[in-house]
Each structure stands twice: as structure tokens, then as C-alpha cells.
């Protein structure tokens, strides 16, 4: 795919852990070989549980953690390799929205100043024109220009997330990385922010990398989705395929664990139930990382790591028990 705006290849982020004078240094393999493309104007979602590496992937794309290996390209810019001033200059092309709108705004700075600061840092517009730009950003995100004078504590959670969005958009980015952007919000407010994000995407042609643990939010927002488990993408497919025809046993387990009130959804009893917690990302199992909790594991799952491969058009899965024709062999067993 050449039309990808963001292209991530074999991204690895390993955090060193302690390690004594004699003992070998061990590593937390937070992200361990992740690849994906996001076409311009689309939304790529990463879903997974805590510790799966989804947030670290987001931070790596933002160049906010040190990358161990791999490459990342944003259009023509090699954002994985740039450093220093070159990196700072290109940062205006990719911006981030964090989870907690209470922690991501400076409580001592007026909302308008937070926007102006972003405009100044990214050198957007003429200095004299910036206040007007800030007003426009506020209107665009559903805030009132007179609220530019207020401090963060005078806004509700949903409004703060609008400020955070306005600030991210100040740089006129191509890519917005959203790490659990609505997880801290009430469900009624979530809907407001999700609708706003979709409208902004349409109006400004934004591309989103969207991280969430909430399957409902992911399903609503994303065109294509990668399911992460212990630092790797175990299944990746367009939204329709992934939700209508999940293939990886972990995806199935995740789907069946999510409470749903849709009529016709599975009842609680006939579900795949996972036991225990994911293994430690320091001592990663040698075979499939999910094998220890997988109800369908065979001996080779414990010894041989499965590769992510395309089994249906656009639908990739890393599981020995899915046939090359995209059939879940474990179903017949």
C-alpha cells in the first residue's frame, strides 16, 4: 500500500529493567514487532487490555518513548528516524489527544493560552492572527469563544476534552493519535465527543490512530482494527470482518467478555472464558503468547510462535489453529 499516510513497520519498544552487575539485563517487551498502515482520512483502531502495548504503540508513533527498532513514515517524513529540530518541526503533522482531560491541561493556564501556546510553538499563522485562530478552533470543537478566558477547572470533563482536541488541531495535523480519548467520560458525554471527532475527521480530512479498550467505541469509530496481546498484533482486519467474523481465539474471548445489551447477542453462559491474567511481558512465552490461556492450544502453539498472515482479503491473524483459507480449525474440534 503506497497511499498510506502512516506506515509502521516492525515497531519494537523494549524497556530495560534493572539488571545487576552480573545478572543479564532483562527487558519489558511492551511493543514487539507491530506493523500497520493507515490510509489518509481513515481511522485505525488498536484494541487490547492493559499491558497489551496499545498505549506504548501510540507513544512510539508520537515519538514520546524511545524506539528500540522499526520504522515509521508519515507521508514523506521518516518520523521514526528524525531527531532534534527536524523532529520538532515535523511534529506539527502529528498530534495527540490523551485519556485524562483533567491531567492533560495546565490548571494554571487559561484555556485560550493553551491554544495560543500550541499555535506559537508550531509557528502557525501570523502572531497577530493567532487569537482569531484560537477563537475559530474553539468554535470548531463546540466551545464558545468567550470561554477562552476560563481556567480548566471551570470546564466539565467533556468540555476539557474539547479543549484538548482544539489544542491538538491548532497545529493543523494530518494525523491525530487518540489514546482512550473518551474513557474518562460519562457515556452521554462520550457520544458528544465521538460525534465531534467524526465530524472533524470529515471536515478536516484527519487521519486517526485510535486506541481504546472499549469494543463499542472501537467498533463505532474505526475502519480497520488491530487486536493487540502482549506487545503484538494477533489479528487485524477491517471493522466488518473483525466484528462479524473474529478468528483469533483471543479476539473471540474479548468479544464474548464484553457486556452487550443488543438483542440476539450471546448469553453469558456460552462464551469463551479466559482464566487468569496475561503472562509477564518480561518473560514472554516461547510459542504463541496467548497459548497459556487459550482453550484451543495444541502442543506446537507452546513452542512455535505463529506469524501474522493474511487468511482472507485484508484479514490477518496470527494463530496456528486458523487455516490458510480463514477457517477456525479449533471450531470443529
Amino acid at each position: 500500500m503506497t497511499d498510506a499516510l502512516l506506515q509502521v513497520r516492525d515497531l519494537k519498544v523494549h524497556f530495560p529493567m534493572g539488571g545487576g552487575i552480573l545478572g543479564a539485563r532483562s527487558f519489558v517487551k511492551a511493543v514487539d514487532g507491530v506493523s500497520f498502515d493507515i490510509p489518509k482520512g481513515r481511522t485505525f483502531g488498536i484494541v487490547g487490555e492493559s499491558g497489551s502495548g496499545k498505549s506504548t504503540t501510540a507513544l512510539a508513533v508520537m515519538r514520546l518513548v524511545k524506539i528500540t527498532s522499526g520504522s515509521m513514515r508519515l507521508g514523506d517524513d521518516d518520523i521514526g528516524a528524525l531527531e532534534g529540530e527536524g523532529l520538532r518541526k515535523v511534529r506539527r503533522r502529528f498530534q495527540m489527544v490523551f485519556q485524562d482531560p483533567f491531567a492533560s491541561l495546565n490548571p494554571r493556564k487559561r484555556a485560550g493560552d493553551a491554544i495560543l501556546e500550541a499555535l506559537e510553538l508550531m509557528d502557525v499563522g501570523e502572531p497577530a492572527a493567532r487569537p482569531a485562530l484560537a477563537r475559530q478552533l474553539f468554535l470548531q470543537t463546540g466551545l464558545r469563544p468567550e470561554q477562552l478566558q476560563l481556567f480548566p477547572h471551570q470546564f466539565s470533563g467533556g468540555q476539557r476534552q474539547r479543549i484538548v482536541l482544539a489544542r491538538a488541531l491548532a497545529a493543523r495535523p494530518d494525523l491525530v493519535v487518540c489514546d482512550e480519548p473518551v474513557s474518562a467520560l460519562d457515556v452521554a458525554i462520550q457520544a458528544q465527543i465521538l460525534n465531534l471527532m467524526q465530524r472533524l475527521q470529515r471536515e478536516l480530512g484527519l487521519t486517526y490512530l485510535f486506541i481504546s479498550h472499549d469494543l463499542g467505541v472501537i467498533r463505532h469509530m474505526c475502519d480497520e482494527i488491530g487486536v493487540m496481546y502482549l506487545g503484538q498484533i494477533v489479528e487485524q482486519a477491517p471493522r466488518e470482518g473483525l466484528f462479524e467474523r473474529p478468528l483469533h481465539p483471543y479476539t473471540l474471548a474479548l468479544w464474548s467478555a464484553a457486556p452487550s445489551f443488543d438483542p440476539g447477542s450471546r448469553s453469558r453462559r456460552d462464551r469463551i472464558r479466559l482464566q487468569g491474567d496475561p503472562p509477564s511481558p518480561i518473560h514472554v512465552p516461547p510459542g504463541c503468547r496467548f497459548a497459556g490461556r487459550c482453550p484451543f492450544a495444541e502442543p506446537r502453539c507452546h513452542s512455535e510462535p505463529p506469524a501474522l498472515r493474511e487468511v482472507l482479503p485484508g484479514h490477518q491473524v496470527a494463530c496456528h489453529r486458523v487455516t490458510d483459507a480463514g477457517q477456525p480449525a479449533y471450531r470443529e474440534a
Binding site: 487490555e49 492493559s50 457515556v187 452521554a188 472501537i218 463505532h220 457486556p259 445489551f261 462464551r271
Partner: protein, 338 residues
Amino acid sequence: MTTPIVSPALLDVSNLGVEFQTRGGVARVLEEVAFQVHRGETLGLVGESGCGKSMTALAMMRLIPTPPGRITSGRVVLDGKDLLALDEPAMRHHRGNRISMIFQEPMTSLNPAYTVGNQIGEAVRLHQGLDRKAATTCAIDMLEAVGIPAAKARVHDYPHQFSGGMRQRVMIAMALACKPDVLIADEPTTALDVTVQAQIFDLISDLRERTGTAVVLITHDMGAIAEMADRVAVMYAGRIVEEGSVAEVLQAPLHPYTRGLIACAPGRRTTGFGEPLTEIPGTVPSLLERRGGCAFADRCSDVQPRCRTHLPAETRIDAGRRRVLCWLHAEEKRETSS
């Protein structure tokens, strides 16, 4: 369906009112909250933050910080005894023994300085007069019951040695150690991953079936209500605005707020891709801003002039099994779905 003539409820909350003295004035946090829970039944309390769900739980446990808070009215009758009328020693005998609670944050509600065995055993030592040894045995049994592997060894571990899901299991073991009649679970899985949440829900359901404990499940997640609860009470701005069986309320919500809560959930099959979600405009009004009339009026799509001035009387439907607090369904409009 049960027969209309039912045994008296195990837990009967009526006319519960709580207010807080604040610098800005008196905030009426709960008003006329009433519901019943039967043995072995799960009642879901659902609503946005600030609607009074957790306050209802704290009031039932008599854990409202006083001052500034105060229970102004009502009764919380557990098995024939009004908890609000008890003196503190008698209440202490009930709390954790006959009515107990699981809190939202398993990380902060366990004491890091004591072993989990000690903390689970404390309840039975205090309430049932067991000695340390017997209490430890009981703690091991409880840890086994909530599915903690190698309970015998882990009973001497400290909270930090457990994962989040395990800690919530420890909390549940603690809450259930005295085999309470009523278990209040306040957002028990909010901090947990979905696969762990599913484990905890299974655990609560199994324990409820085994022991007949009545459960009050507090959550903001309609999906969790659909999975876990028999009946659901929807709270808004300190009042219960709708109550009924989960199937009825989810399929045919009567109150516009309930309808909004259900419709705004993302990712349902019924919403087409790219379609915007239904929004509930605005936010929950501040407790001090509340005027006469329905608190939801400003956000309601079906608002009428009288909604802003007068609160409707509660309408009971289907032989009293269902109730709603809304002018749309008051008096003349009694013939709704069915």
C-alpha cells in the same frame, strides 16, 4: 414472572433523602429514593456520574461523612429492621456482617500494610468472634471460593502482590466472608479489563446463586446491567426516574433519560457505521442549580412547559412492577407499551 403476591422484600429502601452542606448552599444529593431488593435478586442502579448512585450505597451503609452530609429522611429496612434507626454499635454489628460493600478501586480500598488473610479474617473475628486461627482458615476458604489459586499460600501475601483482578477478588472475599444478606457492589469492575470483568461478574452471579445474597449493582454501563441484573433503577440528579425489569426497561425505555442512555452507547449493531450517535445534550446540572420541576428538563428532547415548573408524580405501570417519573407517562398516558 413471579406471582403478584410476593414475600416482603429483604431490603426495603423508602423516601431516602441526603443533603450536603456546602459553601454554595445546601445540596440535595438524594431525594425520595425508594426501591426493594428480594433475596437472591440483583438490582442494578444506573446513571451518569453525580446522579447519586454511590451516595445511595453510602447512605444504606450509613457511611455518609457527617458533617457535611446528612441523611434527612427515609428508612433502609433490612429484614424488618430499619438500619437508619440503629445506634452506632448496632449498626457496626450489621455493617460488613449482614450488609457489605465492594468498592470501585481495589487498589485503594485494601490496606497495604496487612496481609489479605488478615483483612478478610478481620470481619469474621469481629462479627463472629472467631479466633485468629479459625479466621485464617475462613480466609483461605473465602479465597478459594473467589477462585484465587494456591489460596493457602497466598493468604499470607500483601495486596501489592496481587493483580488488579485478584485484588477485586480479595475485596469480594472480604465482603462475603460473613455471608451477608445484601451485597452492594459499587462499580466493581470499572478499573478492570473486560476479560477480568467477565470473571468477576461470573463470580458474583455464582455466589449469589449459591448463597441467596441480594445484590445491588451500581454501574454506569447498561451492558453490565443487561448481563447481571434482574431489575434496574435509573437514577438522575438524585432521584430514581425509572424502574422495572431489565428486559422491559432496555427494550422499551419510558423515561427520555433512559432512552438517551441506551441510544448513546457506541458500537451497537443497531447503529449503522458512520451514523452519528444519539447525544444527550448538555451535562448533569450541578446540585446547587436544581430548581423546581424535572431536573432532566434542560436536556430532554420531549420537554413540555410544565416539566420546568412541576415534578410529576410517580406513575406505576404493569401492576406496579414498573414505575417512571415523567410527565409523558403521568396520569392520562398510562397506556404505554404492551
